[in-house]
Symmetry: C2
Subunit: 334 residues, 2 copies
DNA sequence: TTGAAAGCGCTAACAC
DNA sequence: GTGTTAGCGCTTTCAA
């Protein structure tokens, strides 16, 4: 690969001048600049990232930490993240915790070695992960959730839960239920918003189907738990709020297999508005998180931090809205 | 961050000795080694990747090039790729072409700058992309398709098309149709296998719904094209082969909206066996590509190349099989 | 078995 | 405006 040295020789200037030209330093004489640029182009010069990094400049590397990739919710965000980062001239180092805090620690060490300029992360735990990120002393942007003391881009899960309840309320459903984890961080917040709205309106929480947090997207645990519940109890709800779209799909399957029609007998609404909700037939109503925007904003926030334009820590909450589809209001003509 | 120099000072040896110990050079005296390791651990030493790279060793960086991320087919492979790579101590530089060959060229330059050890890619075009990869002079592994002159891990799309036809044949469907692009590389090969099987058996290709290649996963073009076809012609097929699972979902929606029941009136089968096929209700029959294995094998093949254990170019074809689900054989009790 | 020293390609401070 | 020079943290000869 062509180096600055070669360009310097061809252009008959010093290597420092080449550096000046290529890093846009203004003092160079126009014709010298032209000449250097000519040779740089001719030799298809690509700056050596390692050398740049070593010599003290930035790496233009962003570390990305996700719990899981093969989940439409995450992969849509990743898509946006990649696009925004590359547009801004950054490369992405992709890492996956699989929800293990030990993996997360290792990843953090790896990213440190590679001198990433910053990290955009969905941390394993909002409580336990914080110390490790703090110790890095690097710009960090947390996404899809909040972590005390860190910049974040997310949505209000509490308000999301409320909006879901409100949607069901506006459709006239009075007895409603919830399917999902009840103690896990974001899930419990959604649930709380949901319950609070119910309590304040003429509604009743008729069923709570508590599920474990699934380890991977392939887990059948939400389906199984729902199926068992339906086998053991008679469902009292007219509408069910599923903790996310994956769960919603599983709930619809379980209900359908037990002979309930959706939404005829029971309405179902998910959370995230990921690909699954859109592609299912009947399509699944869902609370829309602006996935693309989360990715984009995360990158832009990171850039502001790197440019010193943003120094104080802040949490940005993006807007959500209910996307009403077939699973709560049928448009299907029988 | 602790450097070798610091360790050298603490351990009272030269920096060269520290390097020897940490890179596993055998000549070091055991007690010296122990001492150095003690300090390395104590200072939580992390080797500086840039310095390593610059000093001539490998970067442990793998470039990954995908056309798109927010597609379950790709994101499942990416998941496996990340896991295998990290397990082997490699970091992944993720890049997305969005099916543009210009983007692809830029990405290749970016990866070159970062001195990646190798590239695992789904090239934009099996014909036009080749030259740019060749020019890099880096180890390349192509996945999910084949590219002349390059190592690859994929499945036989021709055989896949045949297996689909065979599956439909074995279920007694005689009039069958196809939905998807007919001229695009892999799609046309699937279609050819499908047609050849039909020609050799007592079957008839009754409908061909040609669609454009969708630009993104959010494209509604397959749905729309199918809907228009159904509006214009009366469907003659008893079963439809959809070019991939995303298309299958769209086809099921279009059919259902037109009053066809699936599989009662028309059976539908997809290709890839991605998340969508599994999570849909009714679930979608599909030709299973071993997505996890493709990712894993790609990384392992890359390692063999990097270790000089594999020098000649070869194409590996992994096994596929039909996963029979609700959309071809209903298990749903009405 | 260990140390000294060169050099990877670049940035940035300093001198002219 | 431009050249010279000193590192950045490591790997790798070459000597001792």
């Amino acid at each position: 690969m062509a180096s600055m040295k070669e360009i310097a020789q061809k252009a008959k200037v010093s290597q420092a001048t080449v550096s000046r030209v290529l890093s846009g330093h203004p003092v160079v004489k126009p014709e010298t600049r032209q000449n250097v640029l000519y040779w740089a182009k001719k030799l298809n010069y690509q700056p050596n990232a390692a050398a740049r990094s070593l010599a003290g400049s930035s790496t233009n590397l962003l570390g990305i930490i996700f719990p899981e990739i093969a989940n439409p919710f995450f992969s849509e965000i990743l898509d946006a993240l990649e696009e925004a980062a590359n547009f801004e001239g950054y490369q992405i180092l992709l890492n996956c915790t699989h929800k293990s805090i030990d993996r997360e620690k290792n990843i953090l060490n790896e990213l440190k070695r590679h001198n990433v300029d910053g990290i955009i992360t969905i941390p394993v735990s909002s409580d336990d992960s914080a110390q490790y990120y703090k110790a890095l002393n690097l710009p960090v942007v947390v996404i899809t959730k909040q972590m005390e003391g860190f910049n974040s881009i997310s949505v209000s899960h509490y308000q999301g839960g409320q909006k879901i309840a409100q949607h069901l309320h506006s459709l006239g459903y009075q007895k409603v239920g919830y399917v999902g984890p009840v103690n896990q961080s974001t899930s419990s917040i959604k649930f709380q918003g949901f319950r609070d709205f119910i309590a304040e309106h003429d509604m009743e929480l008729s069923d709570v189907i508590e599920t474990p947090v699934p380890a991977t997207i392939d887990s059948l645990v939400m389906y199984q738990t729902t199926k068992e519940y339906l086998n053991s109890y008679s469902l009292r709800s007219q509408a069910l709020f599923a903790n996310d779209d994956v769960t919603a799909c599983d709930v619809i399957r379980a209900l359908s297999e037990k002979g309930y029609s959706v939404p005829g007998d029971v309405a179902v609404i998910g959370f995230d508005n990921s690909l699954l909700a859109k592609k299912m037939y009947p399509s699944v109503s869902s609370l829309s998180q602006p996935l693309h925007e989360i990715g984009q904003q995360a990158v832009h926030l990171m850039l502001r931090i790197l440019n010193g334009e943003q120094t104080e820590v802040s949490s940005y909450l993006l807007d959500t809205r209910v996307i009403s589809r077939d699973s709560t209001v049928s448009t299907i003509t029988a």
